[in-house]
Amino acid sequence: MAEVLNDIIKPENQIYGKSEVLTDNVLHYCPGCSHGVVHKLIAEVIEEMGIQEQTIGVAPVGCSVLAYNYLEIDWQEAAHGRAPALATAIKRLRPDRFVFSYQGDGDLAAIGTAETIHACNRGENIVMVFINNGIYGMTGGQMAPTTLEGMKAATCPYGRDVSRDGHPIKITELLAQLPGTGYVTRQAVHTPAAVRKTKKALRKAFENQKLNKGTQLIEVVSTCSSGWKLTPVQANKWMEENMFAFYPLGDLKDE
C-alpha cells in the first residue's frame, strides 16, 4: 500500500498546494473559524494576479489583528475601526498599489462606522474584506453590532434584546446604497462551492480596483465556534439556518 501511495505522491501529480503568498506561520485561529479560509483565498488571488509586490494590506483590531503574520505582503496594523482611513491615505499616496482592508464586524460596523461609511462614500479605490460572525471573538464573545436578535453573547447572556441593545445592523445593505461603492457582495466559506464563489468575488474586487471602480466590499458571513460555543459542524449548520436568514448571500450591487 505504502509503495502505491509513494508512487502517487509526487510533484507531477500534485493538483493543489499552499499559496506562496501564505507564510509558514501556524494560524492562531480556533478550529472551524472562517478567517483561515478567507486568508488563503486572498493569498491565492494575490498570487494568481501576480500582485504580491504591489499589494498593501491593512489589518484590524479583533481576531485578525495578526493577519500580517500569515500573508507575505506589506501590512499596516490599524487602530480599532480605523483601517478604512489608513487604506484611504495609502491608496491616494500610492495609487499604483493594490490596497485592501480586512475587518471584522465590531471593527467595520461599530467603532469604525464613520470611517467605513465615509471611505465608501468617497468611493476610495480599495477592497474591504468584511468578516461578519456576529460576535467579538478576540475579547471573549461579547455582543457585536451584527449579533442576531435573541442570540446569546457574553454581554447579552440572555440573548440580544433589541429593545435594549438595538437591532443587528445590515451595514452591507447600507453601504451598497452609496454611489461610491462598486461591487458589493455577501458570501460565505462553509462549503467547497461557497469557498469557490468567495474566491471569485475577491478576484473580481481586486480586478475592479485595477479599473478604478470605487470601493469594493466583500462581506463573508463567518462562523465563530468558540464564541458561539458550538462545534465547527454545528456552527456551520447554525450559520446556514440563522445567519443566512438575516444576512442572505449574493451580490447586492455590481457597477
Partner: protein, 360 residues
C-alpha cells in the same frame, strides 16, 4: 524662488507645506486654524507638486490617514485646534508606538470642552506629557511668529524623519491668525518612490523581491517584547533630549529676574522685559522653542544667576511644572497666566513679576 509675503500664520503653514515637498495633508475644519486647509485647497498643489489634500470626515479619520501615509514613508501632516487634537490622541499614540514620522499642527484655543475660539496655551500637558495612553513623547516645536510657522514645518519633518517620531507644532490662535511678513523658501521637490525606498526601507511600499514583508504595527503581545519596544523608545527620547533642545534668550546676560514663556506669551513677555527695564528692573526672557525636549540645562544655569523666575503662560499653570523641575529649588518659581481665551498684557506680566517674585 524665495518670496517675501504678508501672510497669516495659518496660511504660512500651508504655503510652507507645499514648498517643502509634503506629500499629503489630511484635516478637518475647526476654528481658529481652518485657513490651513482652505489655503491648500485654493492653491491646488496636486496640480503642481502632486501633493494630496483631503478633507476627512473627522479628526479621528485624519490622524489615521496620517498613519497610513506615514507608514508608506510619505511626508504627511494634519492640523487642528484643541478639541480636534483631543480626538486625535488615539491616533497619535499609535503613530508614536509604531514610530512613524509625521507632523501635527495644533493651533490652540481655550478650553476645557468646547471652550472658546480665542487663543490659549492650555494644551501644554497634552502635548509634552503624552495626551494619549502609554509612555511616549512627541517632538514639540513652539513657533512665536509667522516666519517660524513657515520654517517649523520643514524643521518638524526633518526631526520627525531623523527620529522616526511624530512631531507637533504647538501654536495658538494668536500666531495662527496674525499677519506678518514672511520669507518663503524655494520649492523642494517631493521625494520620489525610489528615494523613499532608500530613506525609509521600513515603509510599506509594496514588498519588493529583495526583501521580506514590512509590517507597521504597535502591537507586541509578549510583555518581554513590548518592554524592549519601550526601552528602544526611551533611548530615542534620551537621544532627542541630548541633541535637539532649542531655545532663545532675550536680555538674560545681566538679568536679576527671569521670565520663561513660549509662543505668543513670549512675544508679550519681550515687551514686558522692555517695560520692566524702563522701570529699572533687570529682567530677561528665556523662550523655549522646543517644549520636548525642554531646555532644562539652560533654565537651571540661569537659576544660578537670577533671584526669581516667573513662568508666563496662557494657561492655569502647566509649563511652570517643568520650569520648577529644571530649577530644582534653587530660586523661587511662580506662574502667571490668563486663560480661557484671555491674553495677558505686557504690563500685567510686569505687575505679576513685582507681586509674585520681587515683592513676594
Amino acid at each position: 524662488m524665495r518670496e517675501l509675503k504678508l501672510m497669516k500664520g495659518n496660511e504660512a503653514i500651508a504655503e510652507a507645506a507645499i514648498r517643502c515637498g509634503v506629500d499629503g495633508y489630511f484635516g478637518y475644519p475647526i476654528t481658529p486654524q481652518s485657513e490651513i486647509m482652505e489655503t491648500l485647497m485654493a492653491e491646488k498643489p496636486w496640480e503642481t507638486t502632486g501633493m494630496v489634500v483631503l478633507q476627512a470626515e473627522s479628526e479621528v479619520a485624519s490622524i489615521n490617514m496620517l498613519y497610513g501615509g506615514a507608514g508608506c514613508g510619505k511626508r504627511v501632516m494634519t492640523s487642528s485646534s484643541s478639541p480636534g487634537v483631543s480626538l486625535m490622541q488615539e491616533g497619535i499614540t499609535y503613530l508614536a508606538g509604531a514610530e512613524l514620522p509625521c507632523v501635527v499642527v495644533n493651533v490652540v484655543r481655550g478650553g476645557p470642552g468646547l471652550g472658546t475660539i480665542q487663543p490659549a496655551q492650555s494644551d501644554y500637558f497634552q502635548s509634552v506629557k503624552g495626551g494619549g495612553h502609554g509612555d511616549y513623547k512627541l517632538i514639540v516645536l513652539a513657533p512665536n511668529s509667522v516666519q517660524e510657522m513657515a520654517d517649523f514645518v520643514e524643521l518638524a519633518f526633518d526631526l520627525a524623519f531623523k527620529y522616526k517620531n511624530p512631531a507637533l507644532i504647538l501654536s495658538d490662535g494668536v500666531i495662527g491668525q496674525m499677519m506678518e511678513k514672511v520669507e518663503l523658501k524655494e520649492y523642494t521637490p517631493r521625494w520620489t518612490n525610489e528615494e523613499i525606498e532608500k530613506i525609509s526601507p521600513w515603509a510599506t511600499t509594496g514588498k519588493g523581491a529583495h526583501r521580506g514583508r514590512n509590517v507597521i504595527t504597535s502591537l507586541e503581545l509578549e510583555a518581554s517584547e513590548q518592554e524592549k519596544v519601550n526601552h528602544r523608545l526611551q533611548a530615542k527620547y534620551k537621544e532627542i533630549e541630548k541633541n535637539e533642545v532649542r531655545c532663545e534668550k532675550f536680555m538674560c546676560d545681566d538679568a536679576d529676574y527671569l521670565l520663561v514663556a513660549y509662543g505668543s506669551s513670549a512675544r508679550i513677555c519681550q515687551k514686558s522685559v522692555e517695560l520692566a527695564r524702563e522701570n529699572g528692573i533687570k529682567v530677561g526672557l528665556l523662550r523655549p522653542i522646543t517644549l520636548f525636549p525642554y531646555p532644562v540645562n539652560e533654565i537651571n544655569a540661569l537659576a544660578d544667576q537670577v533671584k526669581g523666575i516667573l513662568s508666563v503662560e496662557m494657561s492655569a499653570g502647566q509649563m511652570v511644572e517643568d520650569v520648577r523641575l529644571a530649577v530644582n529649588g534653587k530660586v523661587k518659581v511662580e506662574h502667571f497666566g490668563r486663560y480661557g481665551g484671555a491674553i495677558p498684557s505686557p504690563g500685567e506680566v510686569v505687575e505679576a513679576l513685582k507681586q509674585k517674585i520681587i515683592g513676594g
